[in-house]
Point group: C2
């Protein structure tokens, strides 16, 4: 007996892939149905419009992020724990990158999504704050309340803007998807660098190795990103 | 004799205002002509299509940014100098905020803009690097090469994403433009906080006052941004 993916899930998977690769605005429900070799009527049996598909995909994104930011209950946080959080968050952001690339438009067009996104933002920011406070309690970082607040907001902007930033470089170089393989890791490297100055001496001992693993031997100079250094290939 | 603004400049001014307020995709050349009470034919006499208007506006943006990032020739940089740079850059970004809100789309649609934008990115990143290195030379900050690179890239992402971030909060709260008056200042505050950990003890003496002036008495908690704190009004 073969495992058969439900039609509804096939529609969601294909939509996500097409939205991420082609941009949500360029993909209609007819395109999705055609891609799956199904009739538009069959698709409409599962989702009455594109907004419903987007809303359901957003729910998947929200679950992925919520599952990523759970504090360990019976021990203190380590720097690697927190990097692992950011890795999972980045992965979620990347898997659903169409959402943040054209967020204003999506929120303007979709009242249900707008409401849900506000709740999501508040929950995620709140969880992020708990993580940063937890790092402070564990003695990984040393930061006062205003520093934690500023760090949290800068983290939020970097995380939610990273895929748009990468895309803008790709588009400038007319090389779509050129940086996919190492782009996520570079994002995590940037986030580690954002937190590093607050790190305590003990916690910073592990950082050079950790940073090197995310940098993957690529030069740190951001100017090279815009010039797509040789040796960096898809 | 009254001063008369040239028609060409009137078109550019009206376009910029409409693009910023309504989003570039929602504004056609017919809308712009109508707003100015001129015939589409008169507008086409000056610009043969919307792409030309956008390209010309981008040139204005590029000049504004280029004029902002010039190092003082005969003295060392101070922290206030650098904050002043970021203030001018933020103002440029804000004045032309339609560009960064929908950058991918604009670059995809407009080959001339894409080429120009890449050059602009390289020049601006390079100038930004000179400023950060200058801060290091002046003893305002203490950072090694990899720290300077990471800081520069994080600055670029925060600066170019700030107006999209604000817009996403406004949209979530269904209150367009609600945060205009203090939103720029908060962005500058965030940038100061990004650089602060690298600041030397002497340079940091001025920072509490400087930060307070950009914060304007608003609570630092980012969660409140999403909830639009009472007392913050348009």
């Amino acid at each position: 007996m073969t495992v058969k993916i439900k039609t509804r899930d096939r529609i969601l998977q294909a939509s996500l892939k097409m939205f991420n690769e082609q941009g949500e605005r360029n993909v209609s429900t007819n395109h999705i149905a055609s891609q799956l070799g199904m009739s538009p009527g069959n698709l409409y049996y599962h989702f009455s419009n594109k907004a419903e598909i987007i809303f359901e995909l957003f729910n998947g994104y929200q679950r992925a992020i919520a599952d990523s930011v759970v504090l360990p209950e019976e021990r203190l946080l380590t720097f690697k724990d927190t990097v692992r959080y950011f890795e999972m968050i980045f992965q979620g952001l990347w898997d659903y990158r169409f959402l943040h690339r054209d967020l204003e438009h999506l929120l303007n067009e979709n009242d249900a999504l707008r409401e849900q996104y506000l709740t999501f933002s508040l929950i995620t920011m709140s969880a992020g704050k708990d993580i940063i406070k937890g790092m402070n309690t564990s003695g990984i970082i040393k930061a006062n309340t205003t520093e934690i607040d500023a760090l949290l907001l800068n983290l939020w902007v970097i995380l939610t803007s990273w895929s748009s930033f990468l895309q803008s470089i790709d588009v400038q170089n007319a090389m779509p998807g050129a940086m996919d393989p190492w782009a996520l890791k570079r994002g995590i490297y940037q986030v580690i660098c954002l937190i590093e100055p607050y790190g305590t001496d003990a916690a910073r001992l592990d950082l050079p190795e950790l940073k090197a693993s995310y940098l993957g031997g690529v030069d740190t100079d951001p100017l090279l990103l815009f010039q797509l250094p040789s040796g960096v290939s898809k």
